[in-house]
Amino acid sequence: MSRALVELQGISKRFNDVTVLSGVDLRLEPEQILTLIGPNGAGKTTLVKIVLGLLKADEGQVSRHPELRIGYMPQKLHIDPTLPVTLGRFLKLAEPDLALCRNALKEVGIEKMMSLPLQSLSGGEMQRALLARAILRKPNILVLDEPVQGVDVAGQEALYRLIGQLRDRLHCGVLMVSHDLHLVMSATDEVVCLNQHICCHGHPDQVSNNPAFLELFGSKTAPYTHNHDHHHDLHGEVIGDEPKTPLSNGCQHD
């Protein structure tokens, strides 16, 4: 097996005595698409920031491939309206060569927007702009924090397809966060369900039994279903009928 792009072992993180992550292991192989899903406050963004090196874990090991080049797509941009900056200029901050910037925009399908103010882009266009900036760095890992946020369902499907194409062309690994527990694209190689600890991980279910769902959302989106042998309370703690067992061995899935 080739060397992993990123490998996390036993990662724990607390903010002001509130545990956000506890004992998380994660491994991303080259050219693998891994999707992190989980409810609000599950620690998805915190985990991504640890992978990116923006946050330090309290416990655990992070090992990165020595030649790791990260293309990062943040959740959102908050740009003050007083900043006169075009989409083209935004990309030039990452890559001075304008021709390469234009190519990246062509790849994500918003080439025509190049000279528009960044603040005038719609939600979906902005996500594509961020994606263009991320691929300009010729990454071997793309880290995407909620890439389809603020995009309508048809647009979400197109965006997920684009991410799959980019993986194939750039031969990069993809670590992606999805807020939605029910919509995980079928192109994902591995899904990790996070709720402070890792609830479960594996290949997403290939088949959806629900034709109405397929008709509504398109064939590229499949519901990811899994069963827990335990329940979580509001704080993400594992609860059950039996006396509470430690997280390390009490969290099993089928």
Partner: protein, 271 residues
């Protein structure tokens, strides 16, 4: 000590006007681009807080008999670092924190000066500037500090712009954000130290924010906005000094008023 002498020879009067104009232009040229970043990064209140603390710097300089320029820079930097630490604790909202520090440091400065009766301080000239009393040494200090600030700004322009758009993205792309942010605070501290003489502690933020906001309507790129802000600031200095000279209004407030009027006029331009 700050009053314009009633009787002056012609040569002296021209010197006064020339030094005042040179000092004002030297400051306004740098407050333009620096102010643009303050507007883009929504740090107007932050600039105000540092400016208020400079009064404490002056008091300290008087107490220790050291250069007020140096002590103002030092106090501004210390306050900026305290702010950064307190903001990371996140126990209070940022603007509440700034409100506390801004007015406390202003009050400490005022009280400290009152406790030194042996030192005669013209408080009004500290609060609202004293442009017509600048001498050749002040002008040289202003140009030396402005030159340093401009060089720093040119060197850090691209990383600062990247951080202004998205700080974490910039960090992932390899920009040393903590170092650049600290350098930016140093630039603000330097600028406050020299702008104090021109418009005074209470009006420094105006010279940072108003020309930049005025330039916004005429700019297609960040660089244009920075340069236009410089030019608009310089125009405000000339107009304000002219008013001060011909109709005997206080120089600092006249400069800020000119900047405000230029901003109002810019509103008539359709986008």
């Amino acid at each position: 000590m700050s009053q314009k002498p009633l009787f002056q020879t012609g040569a002296n009067m021209i010197d006064v006007l020339l030094y005042a104009a040179l000092a004002g232009l030297g400051v306004a040229a740098v407050t333009g681009p620096l102010g643009a970043f303050i507007v883009w990064r929504r740090m107007a209140y932050f600039g105000d807080t540092l400016a208020h603390s400079s009064l404490l710097g002056v008091a300290l300089a008087l107490f220790l008999s050291i250069s007020p320029t140096l002590s103002v820079i030092a106090i501004c930097l210390v306050l900026a670092l305290i702010l950064v630490v307190l903001q990371q604790q996140q126990t209070l909202a940022s603007d509440t924190l700034l409100g506390i520090l801004s007015h406390t440091s202003l009050a400490v400065g005022l009280v400290a000066m009152a406790l030194m009766p042996e030192v005669k301080v013209d408080l009004l000239s500290l609060l609202f500037g004293d442009l017509l009393t600048v001498n050749i040494n002040d002008v040289l200090t202003i140009y030396a500090i402005s030159a340093v600030t401009i060089l720093l700004l040119l060197k850090l322009w691209k990383p600062l712009l990247a951080m202004t758009i998205h700080e974490e993205l910039a960090k992932v792309e390899g920009i040393p954000v903590t170092a650049v942010r600290t350098a930016f605070m140093l630039m603000i501290a330097l600028e406050i130290a020299i702008a104090m003489k021109v418009v005074g502690v209470l009006l420094i933020t105006a010279l940072l924010v108003i020309p930049a906001a005025t330039a916004r309507r005429f700019s297609q790129t960040p660089e244009q906005m920075a340069i236009f802000a410089s030019l608009i600031g310089c125009l405000a200095v000339i107009l304000g000094l002219g008013a001060s000279w011909f109709i005997d209004t206080p120089a600092g407030p006249s400069i800020v008023l000119s900047a405000g009027l230029l901003f109002l006029m810019s509103l008539s331009k359709k986008n």
